[in-house]
């Protein structure tokens, strides 16, 4: 047994030795962990691959499929626990801060100062990309969550107009139902249901209420009558979903709207990427409106490339990746394809379509007006334990395990307390 131990130790030493020897040379490759595997997303990522290969850096994917990125985050956790960091990883909100607190993130402050990121990136995003005064992540885009995506042909057929209030929306859904179209395309996964509920809460309670309840987690707001009303509204809107919605992926729900099987989807603007990939144009094939009653506010999430504390010989590749990510040309080209808007406010909107131009203007206005709020469903409102507890409650309400809005509010407060 002792002999066995010595052999293992020697083998380990030899492996370590190999590692040291390999560090001498610069690595001309970026390893990237992400979950951008659907059509629009993959196309958008190719823009960055092209930019980097022009500078001589190879691209190595560590892709993990799955819309919400849960599987990818698990893979990342295992990699980090094993000490093999990718150069960068797609990350959302509080996850970046979690990893930064664990001390595994790199420091990009030098590059950030040189490139002037602190002036061009909205302050709300910097909350998640700067930890302890150091830049640890490069924001790629800003998605906003409070959108309606509508099939124009169906809209014309039923003679609908832009809904201005929640009641308008319900009236519109009724029209679609009467015409024999599925009124609302929804994927019955908990993050999709919660994403829609984000918009409903903002619409029902207004900006102040949303911020207090879902960003500050104020208990009074969480159990207020306004929150109950929000759950009632959710119950109302859920009646317009087809019976097979449970477990459906978001892009399949988007496909229903694209094909005209359904009238509307409430989803973040990554849905536009799917429309674009299907060669559809805004205003002629599809319409984008803010969720009724949320005009002027933006519930955001942002894809970030978290930069890990890689060995020195990989730093050059990492800096190149970060610089390319925040370059104006990439921000414009990427977000045109992805459906989102640039993470810096000084990128011209010339290449964007109508929805993109509106998105950029909305973001700027919300940033200036203080109505830019983190999405709780997307991990920008609160840490993952709380966000998941919230998704649980919303999903159980949608699927009938929680029956009344009173009960939902009680459960929500309890679940969030538990997860704190």
């Amino acid at each position: 047994m002792r002999k066995f131990m010595t052999t293992t130790a020697m083998a380990a030493l030899m492996l370590a030795g190999c590692g040291l020897a390999a560090q001498a040379e610069d690595v001309k490759e970026v390893q990237m962990l992400h979950w951008w595997t659907s059509g629009g997303e993959a196309a958008a990522l190719n823009v960055l691959k092209g930019d980097l290969s022009k500078e001589g850096f190879a691209w190595k994917d560590v892709p993990v499929a799955g819309g919400g990125g849960d599987a990818a985050m698990t893979a990342l956790k295992a990699m980090v626990a094993a000490g093999t960091y990718p150069t960068a990883s797609q990350m959302l909100g509080y996850t970046v801060l979690d990893y930064a607190a664990a001390g595994v993130m790199g420091d990009l402050t030098e590059t950030a100062v040189k490139e002037g990121w602190d002036k061009s990136v909205p302050a709300a995003l910097q909350k998640f990309s700067v930890y302890d005064g150091k830049w640890v992540a490069a924001p790629v885009n800003v998605h906003s969550v409070n959108w309606l995506w509508i099939n124009k042909a169906v809209m014309d057929k039923i003679g609908g107009t832009q809904p201005k209030t929640f009641d308008d929306l319900i009236a519109l859904l009724d029209k679609a139902k009467a015409a024999g179209v599925i009124p609302l395309a929804l994927g019955g996964q908990n993050w999709q249901e919660a994403t829609m509920f984000d918009s409903i809460v903002l619409s029902t309670g207004g900006p102040e209420f949303y911020k207090k309840a879902f960003n500050d987690l104020d208990e009074e707001s969480l159990k207020s009558d306004t929150m109950k009303k929000s759950f009632d509204n959710l119950a109302t809107i859920i009646k317009y979903v087809d019976p097979n919605f449970s477990g459906r992926d978001w892009n399949l729900a988007t496909a229903m709207v694209i094909k005209g099987d359904a009238l509307v989807q409430v989803m973040g603007d990554w849905a536009k990427g799917e429309f674009v990939a299907a060669k559809k144009t805004p205003d002629t094939d599809f319409l984008c409106y803010r969720f009724p009653g949320t005009d002027g506010s933006v519930i955001y999430n942002s894809d970030m490339f978290g930069m890990f504390n890689v060995p020195d010989n990989q730093k050059a590749a990492q800096v190149a990746l970060a610089t390319a990510t925040l370059s104006k040309s990439f921000q414009s080209a990427f977000n045109v394809v992805k459906g989102s808007v640039p993470a810096r406010t000084d990128v011209p909107d010339t290449d964007f379509d109508a929805c993109g131009k509106k998105g950029i203007a909305d973001l700027k206005a919300a940033n200036d007006g203080g109505t830019l709020f983190g999405s709780l469903a997307q991990g920008y409102g609160a840490p993952p334990a709380i966000a998941n507890a919230y998704k649980d409650v919303v999903s159980k309400f949608v699927h009938g395990q929680i029956k009344t809005s009173d009960e939902a509010v009680t459960e929500l407060v309890k679940a969030i307390d538990d997860a704190r």
Binding site: M1, F4, D70, M73, T74, K77, V80, A81, D98, Y99, A102, G188, Q189, N190, P243, N244, F245, S246, G247, P383, P384, A385, N388, A389, D392, S395, K396, V398, H399, G400, Q401, I402, K403, E407, E411, D418, A419
Partner: protein, 317 residues
């Protein structure tokens, strides 16, 4: 030994030492070969069980932490065990485990035995039938899950097809129904494993001494009596093996739930393994996840250990 020693005296000293080296090597070889796998098992199974147990008493969140906080995680699970309306995720998981484990093991054993008895009637084409039943076992749970997901989906599979054929009143939406989704997991699981259980029973049936059956037939036993009184009791060891295989498959069937239902509407298809994974890796509540893993381990031990003990003691007697 003494007789051997007298002949060995004649051997040259060189030959004898080589011989003893060889015999020492022969003695040591099994230990040498087993040592790595023994060490690996020790660390990666038992070591990690202890590690998980330790984590369940800490305040671990995203990453393991070493700050001991007492049995807080267990207290939370204990509280959740009794939250049935609305059901907590933990309550859903353990009740599902009860339903799934009972039905899956029971139906697999029953169906497997039934198929084995039918196949044992020296029918023609057995060589073809046996692999047909056995083959689902060669598929991974993921494949089984995805295939059954499509088959059971009301918009794509069985229901849709029957509607197209004109039977429009047919209704089967268990996979989308929070109260029935766990039974679809049972269906897919049974489909996959019952052929394998059949093969085990068939081997057991073929191993039974024909003389006993002839003797019973001469004594005037009917076929039903023959199976009920003689053959099935003789298959007891096969029942044990099949039960243990099925029990551990039931407990680890995480992938089937994910592939078939992706957790079910509102998480209503969760098993404790799903709970453990979700809390440990997705919700950053590693302490709670570890505690649930330890509870799973203790539950299994509580069932399997007494059963194994009674079975093995009987055998050694």
């Amino acid at each position: 030994m003494s007789t051997v020693a007298t002949t060995e005296i004649k051997l040259t000293p060189e030959r004898s030492s080589r011989n003893s080296l060889r015999s020492r090597l022969q003695d040591a070889l099994p230990k040498l070969v087993l040592a790595p796998s023994f060490a690996i098992t020790l660390v990666f199974v038992y070591g990690f069980i202890i590690w998980t147990g330790f984590l369940s008493f800490t305040n671990s969140k995203t990453f393991p932490s070493y700050v001991l906080t007492g049995p807080r995680a267990y207290q939370r699970l204990w509280r959740w065990t009794f939250e049935s309306d609305p059901p907590s995720s933990w309550y859903t998981s353990i009740t599902n485990m009860g339903i799934f484990g009972f039905l899956y093991i029971g139906i697999c054993l029953g169906l497997g035995l039934f198929l084995a008895i039918l196949l044992d009637q020296k029918i023609r084409g057995e060589g073809l039938l046996r692999p047909i039943y056995l083959y689902p076992m060669a598929l991974s749970f993921i494949v089984t899950g995805v295939a059954w997901k499509w088959f059971l989906d009301p918009g794509l599979g069985l229901e849709q097809t029957l509607h197209q054929w004109g039977w429009t009143s047919f209704h089967f939406d268990w996979i989308k129904n929070k109260d029935f989704v766990i039974y679809t997991v049972v269906i897919a699981g049974v489909w996959q494993a019952s052929g394998f259980v059949m093969a085990m029973f068939l081997a057991g049936l073929r191993g039974i001494d024909g003389e006993i059956m002839k003797a019973a037939q001469i004594d005037g036993a009917t076929t039903i009596q023959l199976y009920r009184r003689i053959i099935i009791p003789l298959l007891r060891p096969v029942f044990l093996s099949a039960f243990i295989v099925l029990a551990h498959m039931a407990i680890k069937s995480y992938d089937l739930v994910v592939a078939l239902t992706s957790g079910g509407p509102g998480g209503s298809a969760w098993l404790p393994s799903n709970f453990m994974y979700e809390y440990t890796f997705k919700r950053n509540e590693m302490a709670v996840g570890s505690a649930s893993a330890i509870i799973m381990l203790m539950t299994i031990s509580a069932i399997i250990v007494p059963y194994l003990y009674s079975e093995l003691r009987e055998k050694s007697r």
